[in-house]
């Protein structure tokens, strides 16, 4: 017949300290809730910002330019090939590519549909640095049409001022149908190309043409090689890397702050959430300590009874196992309640704050569930070890 704990249970004098027991349960519950919620929010932020950021294949792309000040205004503030080589040599920079500008005059007009004409600038960038490169973004010599990748922001800006100039506002789809006449004129000649927008870029604020076109045009129309540029795109693992920022400050290079804003706010948010999580851990620790005091009190009060049980031949290991088991349902209940509340929080956050955005899930992440299970195991083990130690001390 198995040894029954039922007959032993009344020997533990637990009833008189209900208040301290409930305090520790509530403390544990608050701690668990804080920890699980912080963990879930941490994961949410990770998911939201990873999918929305400017990262491509795990790297950040940022454009840098030399700082223009009153002192250096008259000088050549473009990047030379030596500057670019120096950038590439830095360990925190994976790659760098110049934004090659046009060296000749470019005038754009959109014909009948959009009665507008203006001097514009065009630039070329290595395809690896562009976020949207359709297969049509190519040009061969003597090709009269020219594919263009247009900055999404420029289109937005156009749509802002278009009504006041009595120009039609354009959707991205319509904009791709507009044939733009590009009148290119340099020292050595002039050419007209029919440009079409083939894609929009969120990353590069420019009007991009294929690299080989600009090299050809700069040479043919202006007689110069495209060696220098005012802007350089860099590819880095982390745009917020302190070594990178220090290097850029030293060289007096200016970073496009917009592009690192996501990263910076993510860092701050994660910092706050981590702080909350650590606070939750501290609360759990405090609750476990409170509970251990309560257990010590129970054991001290029941000392005579426990000592007599040991004298009669009860095994201290069996007693501690069964005593610890007593509190197991409470621990499981507290942690599961914490998990359930975290689930409610996540659902509400996804539904009411994030309006069911597809990047997030309404359910808690498996990591949070694993953390809850870990907490249950941890509290049971701590409990068992404490009781065992106290009982062995009695022997």
């Amino acid at each position: 017949m198995a040894l029954s704990y039922k007959t032993i249970k009344p020997l533990l004098l637990t009833g008189t300290n209900a208040a301290s027991r409930w305090f520790s349960y509530i403390g544990l519950g608050i701690g668990v809730l804080l920890l699980l919620c912080s963990l879930q929010m941490f994961i949410n932020i990770q998911q939201l910002l990873t999918r929305n950021s400017i990262r491509k294949n795990g790297s950040d792309f940022v454009s840098i330019a030399k700082n223009i000040t009153n002192e250096n205004m008259g000088k050549d503030n473009r990047f030379s090939s030596a500057d670019i080589a120096e950038l590439k040599a830095q360990p925190f920079i994976e790659d760098a590519a110049p934004l090659i500008p046009n060296l000749f005059r470019v005038q754009a007009s959109a014909g009948q549909m959009v009665n507008f004409s203006s001097d514009i600038f065009i630039e070329a960038l290595n395809n690896n640095f562009i976020d949207t490169v359709p297969p049509t973004f190519t040009w061969v010599e003597n090709q009269p049409t020219l594919p263009v990748i247009f900055s999404s922001e420029f289109l937005e800006m156009y749509n802002v001022f278009a009504p006041s100039w009595e120009l039609p506002q354009l959707s991205p789809a319509t904009a791709t149908n507009v044939a733009i006449s590009l009148h290119c004129e340099g020292k050595l000649g002039e050419r007209i190309f029919i440009a079409r927008i083939v894609a929009f870029s969120d990353r590069v604020n420019s009007i991009l043409v294929p690299e080989n076109f600009l090299e050809w045009a700069n040479k043919t129309l202006e007689g110069q090689d495209s060696t220098k540029s005012s802007r350089v795109f860099i590819k880095t693992k982390d745009a917020n890397n302190s070594d990178l920022l220090k290097f850029l400050d030293q060289k007096d290079y200016r970073v496009n702050k917009d592009k690192t804003m996501f990263g910076r706010s993510k860092q701050i948010l994660q910092g706050i959430i981590t702080g909350l999580g650590v606070f939750g851990l501290l609360v759990i620790l405090l609750a476990l300590m409170l509970f251990s005091f309560y257990l010590q009190l129970v054991i001290a009060r029941s000392k005579d009874n426990l000592q007599l049980l040991l004298t009669l031949g009860y095994s201290p290991a069996w007693l501690s196992q069964n005593m610890a088991k007593q509190f197991m349902p409470v621990y499981i209940f507290v942690v599961l309640t914490g998990l359930a509340l975290t689930q409610v929080m996540q659902w509400s956050f996804h539904h009411f704050v994030m309006y069911d955005r597809p990047e997030l899930s309404s359910f808690v992440d498996w990591v949070v569930i694993a953390a809850a299970i870990l907490l249950i195991i941890l509290s049971i083990i701590t409990n068992y070890r404490l009781v065992k130690r106290l009982l062995y001390r009695m022997f």
Binding site: T7, N305, L308, L310, T311, L312, Y314, P316
Partner: protein
């Protein structure tokens, strides 16, 4: 199993005690089936001896061996096992759970390693005249009744050695004899050895060896 004591002497006793005692400072061995009577006047260390043999105190010189195991090498779990299977005791100070009923006190011991079915508790209690006390809390029983509870409790498990420390100090002759009879029957069933320490000789204990402490 044999119980051997070698050169045993409490640390707080003079070496001189050895010369006046049949037990302190001697090498002795007790085997299963033996009935050992130890006559010990007050202050001669009777309770200390029982506590040493039961493994509750270790403030002695010399050694106590069960089989070939020295109990000074026992860990907490070894003692638990030993007390559950091999050795039982009636303490002079009884040591019952005061807030539990007589029945609960007995069941707590019986379930640890049941030698008898639970019905036997009632039978034994009735035999010793406390059958109507099973539902009463131990603390409201008289000392004599509590002593009988302690005696029954010691008989609910298997044992090779039964240690008795003045087990009849609060019982009249009639009740003492009944209790002795029960203990002798139970010891016989287990072929166990009884080590009976008391202030003076008792006629109804059929000892095979007599020692003066």
């Amino acid at each position: 199993m044999q119980l051997r004591i070698q050169q045993l002497l409490p640390v707080y006793f003079d070496e001189a005690r050895k010369s006046n005692s049949d037990i302190w400072g001697k090498d002795l061995s007790f085997s299963k089936g033996e009935m050992i009577k130890i006559v010990a006047p007050s202050g001669s260390g009777k309770t200390s001896l029982v506590h040493f043999l039961y493994g509750m105190r270790q403030d002695y010189n010399g050694s106590i061996l069960y089989g070939d195991k020295n109990i000074k090498q026992f860990g907490a779990e070894d003692f638990a096992l030993h007390r559950k299977d091999n050795i039982s005791v009636v303490f002079q100070d009884l040591r019952l759970f005061p807030e539990q009923t007589v029945g609960e006190n007995l069941e707590i011991k019986r379930q640890l390693n049941p030698f008898h079915p639970s019905e036997k508790i009632k039978e034994m209690a009735e035999r010793l005249g406390i059958g109507n006390k099973l539902q009463s809390k131990a603390k409201i029983c008289s000392y004599g009744e509590q002593q009988r509870v302690a005696i029954i409790r010691s008989l609910l498990q298997p044992f090779d050695f039964l240690l008795l420390d003045e087990p009849f100090s609060h019982l009249d002759n009639n009740n003492s004899e009944k209790a002795m009879e029960l203990m002798l029957e139970e010891a016989k069933q287990r072929e166990a050895c009884i080590i009976f320490a008391d202030l003076e000789r008792i006629d109804y204990f059929p000892y095979t060896k007599l020692f003066h402490l």
